[in-house]
């Protein structure tokens, strides 16, 4: 998305992927704002980065690991108290449309 300007359709697509329900007015507003943000970021993309390693993380760290040792899990009653609905000690969710991606 470095060369083409962000369209209203692009904004609607991204909103749908993120499951954000936008009104027509909001779509106009955010499409315009996002386009400005992307144009700004395009300045970075214009730089010549030949021979520069991509940055995966801002801190110069690697191999941050923990030992394979169990730690206590949460209390189930406390966990399920946060669920909108529960059945059989499990989270109850509405009928799922579509398939596992």
């Amino acid at each position: 998305m470095t060369d083409a300007k962000l369209t209203r359709e692009d904004a609607a697509y991204v909103a749908r992927l993120a499951r954000i329900d936008l009104t027509e007015d909001e779509l106009d507003l955010y499409a315009g704002q996002l386009a400005v943000v992307l144009e700004h970021a395009a300045q970075v993309a214009a730089l010549d980065t030949t021979g520069v390693e991509p940055t995966a993380h801002p801190l110069p760290l690697q191999n941050v690991l923990r030992a394979d040792e169990p730690r206590p899990s949460l209390d189930r009653d406390e966990v399920l108290a946060q669920a909108p609905a529960v059945e059989d000690h499990r989270f109850l969710v509405p009928r799922i449309m579509g398939d596992v991606p």
Binding site: Q62, L65, P70, P72, E87, F91, P94, I96
Partner: protein, 486 residues
Amino acid sequence: MTEQPGSSAAGDGGWEPVIGLEVHCELRTETKLFCGCRNAFGDEPNTNVCPVCLGLPGSLPVLNAMAVDYAMRIGTALHCEIRPSLFHRKNYFYPDMPKDYQISQFDEPINVNGWLELPDGSRVGVERAHMEEDTGKTTHVGGGGRIHDAQHSLVDYNRAGVPLVEIVSRPDIRSSLQARLYAAELRGILIATGASDGRMEEGSMRVDANVSVRRPNDELGTRCEIKNLNSLRSLVRAIEYEISRQVDVLESGGTVLQQTRHWDENEGQTVALRSKEEAFDYRYFPEPDLVRVVPDTTWQSEVAAAVGPMPADRREKLAALLGPDGATAAKADQIATVVENGLDVLMTKAVHAGIGAPLALARTANEASAEPDRARALDTAAYTALLRMEQDGSLSATQAKVVLADLLDRGGDPAALARDHGFEALGADSLSGVIDELIAAHPNEWTRYVDGDDKLTGFFTGQAMKATQQKANGKAVAAELRRRRG
């Protein structure tokens, strides 16, 4: 590609199947990939969960070192290049994934460019073997458990965050049989590395198949991905069904659509899942809460040392015990069974203790392999003692199998178990008496035997078994018959 033993001569009216397999295996760690919750199958629902694997705000993942270790063992066993790797977020919405993204390795996987050699001599390339986290387990309620008819679904997050390695083969497989060989050999390798228990029935090893067909040497055809393959048998059946479905479509002038298809074991067919309006856009980006994994050479050589002998080497060792006989197809099958069930140590110890290799192989590949978990726990001394009783003739083969069943069932002293069954070796005197009676009762058969018809040995042995309620030893009967014939 060169012609290999595993490749099919393009059957099915000149169409060549092209198959690649994606295998997910759960790692045998104590804890999950990014948190200290237990990685355990079959626990009470939602008891192994915490803020990290529930995706609660503010929680942070920390990578499990043992999971990296196991992933590298798998890579080493599959002759992969082990590389510095990075985790990405794979974004999608589905209730089995509470964070709304799965942490997975994308364009920088830990293992790349390996291969696997199958028992038939063919070689299948391994494109990559990367780490990722498993999802929660969803149960659909109502509508007979089928997703589209369900009223609602229930989610257990115990499995969410369990470490997985996904092994992606190259599309080098050319038949359902070769696919089966690959999956079985890979399973053996996973178990041998200690990284996974490879149990397909518990879902700790899951196989998806990418299948397409083409005219030999043409470009690759459009592929379909088949899911829900819960056994090696389903894998073979589903691939065969899918090949003939695609050939039918093409031969009737149609086009194969790129689809994900679900294998229905009861109907024996693959069914297209809901057609996708658009390709999934997972918006991968580097996981900002995790840093790069860069295994140094010390760690890599520790891993290489921890990887046990692979099934192919173990099969070779057992075959060597049998001498030239070990190369026959029947023996090779039995050897493969022994290795698959992890019983090579049991068999080898028996042979080293003086049991003939063919007998040790037969009992280990048949009776012991019928109860592999119990056989692995068997006292090797007791096992050897039992085989020795069969070998020296104090138990017949039939009796030895009965005692072995007991031994597998509850352990104990084989001699005592044999006595409990009344399996006392028939003394030479009483055997002689039994044979006297048999000769008197079957004079014509005896004459033919004396005249050189050796097939009658089986007849007399059978009769002797019957007369003694299986207490007679077949070899002893045959020896006595030969002695009398002179």
